[in-house]
């Protein structure tokens, strides 16, 4: 179904683009409008297929697992970093961040749209807002560490931790809501 939808959209686009290129000013609308209809049918088929695909348990569960695990890892790593922050030399903090957090940040970001597909756009926004704020705080810790600002490093490690806890809580709420 998705392949057929893509084919229809491609045909609509290429033939439509050809029709628009025939004259610098005018267009044969009698041929162009039916093509747009073909494109709309294509879009419908693609969206329907994507909806079904997104709800496919295997893919969905894999992505949800990535989301949950990466967020849990981020929270655990930040808990550890915050607990021993006084022992980390300020100029080393950025290397700790790169080593401990970057892979999970990337993995979560790549799987993020599953939240919208599985739950809703509201769920997506509710989890992504603190996640993005947390990532930005982590980036600030990196910058402050490169410049040697120790108080800023400590303060923003705490703030990042708070944001990722919030993101994990939001994810858990949506998961438990679904389970009820």
């Amino acid at each position: 179904m998705k392949a057929l939808g893509l084919l229809l959209v491609t045909v609509c686009f290429l033939v439509g683009a050809f029709l628009t290129s025939l004259d610098p000013r005018t267009l044969a609308w009698s041929g162009f409008l039916p093509l747009l209809l073909v494109g709309m049918i294509g879009v419908y088929l693609i969206k329907r297929a994507e909806h079904l695909e997104a709800r496919h348990e295997g893919v969905m569960e894999d992505n949800l697992k990535v989301l949950r695990e990466s967020l849990e890892n981020l929270v655990a790593e930040l808990d550890t970093l915050v607990a021993k922050k006084d022992d980390i030399p300020v100029y080393e903090a950025r290397f700790e961040i790169d080593h401990r957090l970057r892979n999970d940040l990337r993995a979560f970001a790549e799987a993020r749209y599953t939240l919208a597909h599985r739950y809703s756009l509201a769920a997506f926004a509710e989890v992504m807002s603190p996640f993005a704020a947390g990532e930005r705080y982590v980036n600030r810790v990196w910058s402050a560490s490169a410049d040697g600002y120790i108080d800023e490093v400590h303060q923003y490690l705490d703030k990042a931790k708070g944001q990722f806890h919030e993101a994990l809580d939001a994810l858990s709420r949506w998961r438990s809501g679904e389970a009820l």
Partner: protein, 571 residues
């Protein structure tokens, strides 16, 4: 870093400081004058963030002995906000001189541009969450600036990669500008038909941008290839290429301007409107999230500018724009002025989204196309007035809209940089407001001085962008508007964006821009794909991105260097 430089610093991390503001003004004024002059002389304008970041780096760290990545980020935010007026005013105001309609009020245009700048900033701020936090658009230029800013802490290897690539890119661009060879017709050498347009843009900056954008730019490439490697051969094969004066048109630039670009503009608009409709729930969620955060006074809410202030700014600037439209020409009535102001305001929002998406996905913004649509719509609203009043009123409001769009894209680019270095959005947003008022004053003064000295549109100062807008305005006044192609393009853009978010905009950009850029850009995209596949994503990020950022920076610096040289020669 050596042990003696590893000072442990206590207290707050400097961000929006008086030093940052003053250095930002200083750099912004220099860059705005340089780039504005280059735009009048050569017809190109450059986004000034990279240069501001490098110069800010030198001044803050080298001269003032300061050490804060995020303070330098505010410097480049303010400086590029000052410069935001360059492209906005350089594209629109010179058209009035070239058309001979000099009976306008420059102060009104300056006030309009300042109101427009604030409007563009206020409109785009609530979209930060949606485009940067949720959609995570790439913004290759923003990544390049972040790479520069982070270089003190990124280690010697990355710094070497950045500087080495910048030197290579700068050297090649210098030679290319010096000998006057900026394009290479490889297609002609290989015996390809002229309409397939095998001309390459000799620009490592473009390769770097393609590399950073990665797969995000594939649709842009597809758009270009569809035009010149599918449609043009198909038209030639069926003997349907346009014929002018009995001669078949095969010149790729003529095909672009007459056949593909109007459809591309339509696709940008249709794609954007569909994208807005589809992302509307997410935009609402982003705004709600800002409102909720403001209500509970959370830590994150202190990171954002108060949403009520933004609403106030939007309303205030819209009212000001209506007033400016009414005052722009004696014949403009109150109701017509209000209609023009509201249309300008609406267009700033729509075009701000289009341009931010374009620059976020590919690093190019079709500012001239969006200004053209704004001026076209505004001239339609002035129907019934004499030509001079209609054009002066339309360009006065159009210039404000153009500056607004320029500020919106610049801010979004800077906010992406800010995200990557951990800046506070509120500080950057204040920085943008602080810088935005200065640019219109500087650039308008420059325009008036240069016009008095040389005459805009003369051989000395051809103002190519102004000439392009002037000829388009003449076409509009003569009823020569490709409305059907805009509408058809909008339909195609809407279908593509409904298929996948942003697709209509990016493919439309491929229709809109010269194919030479697309070809060179494709090299960057292909390199990213190969490096990702064979060396891994980590290698791409740790080695490829610093190199690509260096390619962008080197060429941008040489470009501005040439602009400064032109100024010195002019003096």
């Amino acid at each position: 870093m050596t042990a003696h430089t590893q000072v442990i610093r206590r207290g707050p991390y400097p961000e929006l400081t008086w030093t940052a503001v003053l250095v930002g003004y200083f750099l912004g004024a220099i860059i705005a004058v340089s780039i504005a002059y280059a735009a009048l002389k050569l017809g190109f304008s450059i986004e000034g963030s990279e240069l501001a970041a490098i110069l800010g780096f030198g001044i803050l760290r080298g001269i003032l002995n300061r050490s804060s990545i995020i303070e330098n980020n505010v410097v480049q935010t303010i400086a590029s906000a000052v410069n935001g007026a360059s492209s906005g005013l350089m594209f629109s105001v010179p058209a009035l001189f070239i058309l001979g309609y000099t009976n306008f009020n420059p102060l009104l245009i300056v006030f309009g541009a300042i109101a427009g700048a604030f409007l563009g900033i206020a409109f785009i701020i609530p979209l930060r969450k949606q485009m940067i936090d949720y959609e995570r658009l790439t913004y290759p230029g923003g990544v390049a600036v972040a790479t520069i800013l982070k270089s003190p802490g990124a280690g010697v290897k990355k710094a070497k990669l950045l500087v080495g690539a910048a030197l290579a890119s700068g050297a090649i661009h210098f030679v290319s500008k010096y000998v006057g060879v900026e394009y290479y017709d490889l297609g002609g050498l290989l015996g390809m038909p002229e309409y397939t347009n095998g001309i390459w843009y000799l620009s490592l900056l473009t390769v770097g941008v393609g590399f950073i954008a990665g797969r995000g730019g594939v649709a842009f490439i597809i758009g270009g290839f569809v035009c010149y490697w599918f449609l043009a051969p198909l038209l030639a094969g069926t003997e349907l290429l346009p014929v002018v004066d009995g001669k078949v048109v095969t010149d790729p630039e003529a095909l672009r301007v007459d056949l593909f670009r109007p459809v591309g503009i339509g696709m940008l608009i249709g794609g954007a409107l569909t994208g807005i409709a589809m992302a509307f729930p997410l935009i609402i969620n982003a705004i709600k999230s800002m409102q909720n955060a403001a209500r509970v006074e959370s830590a994150a809410s202190r990171d954002e500018m108060p949403i009520k202030l933004l609403y106030g700014a939007i309303i205030g600037c819209a009212v000001l724009l209506c007033f400016i439209a009414i005052a722009s020409a004696q014949e403009v009535s109150i109701w017509r002025g209000i209609a023009m102001g509201l249309l300008g305001t609406f267009w700033v929002w729509v075009a701000g989204v289009i341009l931010s998406e374009c620059i976020g996905r590919t690093n190019w913004s079709p500012l001239s196309g969006m200004t053209l649509i704004a001026v076209t719509l505004l001239i339609i609203l002035t129907s019934g007035l004499d030509d001079e009043s209609a054009v002066i009123a339309a360009v006065t409001v159009g210039a404000a809209a153009c500056v607004a769009m320029s500020q919106a894209t610049d801010l979004m680019l800077d906010l992406k940089t800010g995200y990557l270095v951990g800046a506070t959005p509120r500080m950057q947003q204040f920085g943008q407001f602080i810088g935005a008022w200065l640019g219109p004053i500087i650039v308008m003064a420059l325009i008036l001085v240069l016009h008095k000295a040389y005459g805009l549109g003369s051989a000395e100062l051809p103002a190519p962008q102004g000439q392009a807008l002037a000829s388009m305005i003449s076409g509009i006044l003569g009823g020569d508007v490709p409305t059907e192609k805009y509408l058809a393009g909008a339909g195609l853009g809407a279908i593509l964006s409904a298929t996948s978010g942003g697709l209509g905009i990016t493919v439309g950009l491929g229709f809109y821009l010269p194919f030479a850029i697309v070809l060179t850009y494709a090299l960057g995209t292909l390199s990213r794909e190969l490096v990702d596949r064979f060396k891994g994503k980590e290698f791409s990020e740790n080695t490829g991105i610093p190199v690509a950022a260096g390619l962008i920076v080197g060429e941008a610096l040489v470009g501005v260097g040439f602009a400064v040289t032109y100024i010195v020669q002019g003096v």
